[in-house]
């Protein structure tokens, strides 16, 4: 057998193997999706099968009883604002940290980096938020998420900004541009891809999280979708069709975001994690 034919054969074998392996991922997800359209007795077999009759009514029922409209808006508000706060503050900080090559800046970089390593201290964070007087509010959750993501964002931004030549901003300075003008007119347009990456990463982790709302959102009318789903799961533990419909609905926003923003995830990971 010639070398190229051997290579082609090897690729076929790998491809078939990976296609079979991908079933391990697809089947549980399809059980959830098909199950969300079944009747409550049909779904209990938890088998991969198309529903006998497509019960779209599961979705309307869940949407009403699970209070998902409200939870969707809460999630959008919390996720949106904390992502924006995080993007603006982290990119500005990373820019200065990368450009100033002093002892202080490398200390501050390590100080931020520790945030990737250290676990959050939940009980005392509650204490601090109580002192500040907004425990239980959406505002507190927004700031906590912004703070929790500072480390990862600064890390990603630094990796990328290092690759932007210094000469670019120095020319602008020579022409008399101010610091803010340089940051917003030169750096910001160049880091749009990382902004997208950070936005997606922060959005996904915040949208999907249950830990922070569990501890910090004391009023159920402020809950985000996953926490409402968790609550619903506890209440409707018999109606798996409704639970599955609930799960599908809480997943749709991140799926839509992923479909639109796919390429930024990969390019951001390359720039930040692999080269950085």
């Amino acid at each position: 057998m010639s070398y190229t034919r051997k290579l082609a054969l090897r690729n076929y074998i790998v491809e078939i193997f990976l296609l079979v392996a991908s079933l391990i991922i697809i089947v549980p997800l399809l059980i959830m999706i098909f199950g969300s359209f079944m009747t409550s007795s049909e779904v209990l077999r938890f088998k991969l099968a198309l529903p006998d009759k497509w019960m779209f009514s599961n979705y309307t029922q869940v949407f009403k009883e699970g209070g998902l409209g409200r939870a969707f808006l809460n999630g959008l508000l919390i996720t949106g604002v904390s992502s924006i706060v995080n993007i603006i503050t982290s990119s500005a900080a990373a820019f200065i940290l990368v450009r100033r090559e002093s002892k202080l800046s490398s200390f501050l970089y390590m100080f931020f980096f520790m945030g990737l390593i250290a676990p959050m201290s939940i009980i005392t964070t509650i204490r601090v938020v109580q002192w500040l007087g907004f425990y239980g509010s959406i505002t507190s959750v927004i700031f906590i998420y912004a703070a929790l993501n500072v480390a990862f964002s600064v890390f990603l931004y630094s990796g990328f900004i290092k690759s932007i030549p210094r000469a670019l901003d120095e020319v602008a300075f020579l022409e008399g541009a101010s610091m803010l003008a340089v940051f917003f007119r030169i750096i910001t347009p160049l880091i749009v891809p990382v902004n997208a990456t950070v936005a997606i990463m922060v959005f996904m982790s915040v949208w999907n999280d249950i830990t922070i709302p569990l501890y910090f959102l004391t009023d159920s009318s402020d809950w985000t979708m996953p926490l409402s789903v968790y609550n619903f799961y506890g209440k409707y533990s018999r109606d798996w069709n409704l639970i599955f419909a609930d799960l599908v609905m809480t997943s749709i926003p991140v799926l839509v975001l992923y479909l639109f923003a796919q390429k930024y995830i990969v390019s951001g990971l390359t720039a930040g994690a692999v080269k950085g």
Partner: protein, 289 residues
């Protein structure tokens, strides 16, 4: 000196402020409170030195929670990275369906841990889909009481986490593989290198930056595990699958806050002691290549 002043430090302040108030300050306060008998139902505080820590190590459930946390971290680090590299190498070949396959393997990692954990709950029952499937293909012997057998439950939770997140590690490895120049492989082929020596002498060393970041992310993420256990088992059966994260929730609920922060401090110490030397060690290897 003059160029430095062009980049004023005040642009760091907003990030530093938010980070210090909502992350660093609680951590420091936590360090202080972990040496006290801080309780919800009492206003007065007393310094009790290392009592909390002594109590942690004499309490069987808490020791088990620490052990489970480490088992979970080690199993997921190995699983996510070995499978992640294998998938990335496979999907870096010229396959017709590679884009579809990449999307499929990546897809669970964009979903909430909550969603995946709930989906797996009925399938992992003793009479659930997974055991029925194993029986159908003649592997009924490896069927388990996945979530109710105390000896394996933490492993089950780790497997679910590997199932969900390996695709994310794969994506980082793929990005790493694509930054390796093809010339190295061409040279290796001309020299007649076999698959294994190509992998161990070219791919692995050049993939080190991606390996480093993935090891760090999976290790730290593993030690901080909470949601998977919370949703899949709630720490049960009994206390068999408690981890540090669920124990903190429990001590918060019981109002024993000093104890809760002490456990968190212990976790912080463990993560730092393990990850910082690892980080330094790997950075050095990376530079040496």
């Amino acid at each position: 000196m003059k160029t430095k002043s062009l980049y004023p430090y005040y642009l760091i302040w907003p990030a530093l402020f938010i980070y210090c108030i909502f992350f660093v300050l609680p951590a420091l306060i936590g360090l202080f409170y972990s040496f006290t008998d801080w309780r919800l139902d009492r206003e007065t505080l007393k310094f009790i030195g290392l009592d909390n820590f002594q109590q942690i190590f004499s309490d069987k459930t808490l020791v088990l929670a620490l052990k489970n946390t480490f088992i979970f971290a080690i199993v997921t680090v190995i699983g996510k990275n070995v499978l992640g590299i294998a998938l990335a190498i496979g999907l870096n070949m010229r396959l017709k369906s590679k884009n579809l396959l990449r999307a499929i393997f990546y897809s669970p990692s964009i979903l909430s841990v909550l969603v995946i954990s709930i989906v797996f709950t009925p399938m992992l029952r003793t009479d659930g889909t997974i055991n029925k499937f194993l029986e159908a293909i003649g592997l009924g012997v490896i069927g388990q009481s996945w979530l109710t057998d105390p000896t394996i439950v933490i492993w089950t939770v780790a497997l679910v986490s590997i199932w969900q997140h390996t695709g994310f590690q794969m994506a980082i490895y793929l990005a790493g593989l694509q930054s390796i120049s093809k010339e190295y492989y061409e040279a290796a082929t001309i020299d007649g290198a076999g698959a294994w020596s190509t992998f161990s002498k070219i791919t692995l060393p050049l993939l080190l930056p991606a390996i480093n970041i993935n090891l760090m992310l999976t290790l730290i993420g593993g030690l901080k595990v909470f949601s998977e256990v919370f949703v899949l088992t709630g720490g049960g059966p009994g206390n068999a699958s408690q981890v540090v994260g669920t124990i903190i929730l429990r001590s918060f609920g019981e109002g024993s806050w000093g104890m809760g922060t002490a456990i968190n401090t212990l976790l912080f110490a463990a993560v730092t002691v393990i990850s910082i030397p690892l980080l330094i060690f790997m950075r050095r290897k990376e530079v040496a290549e």
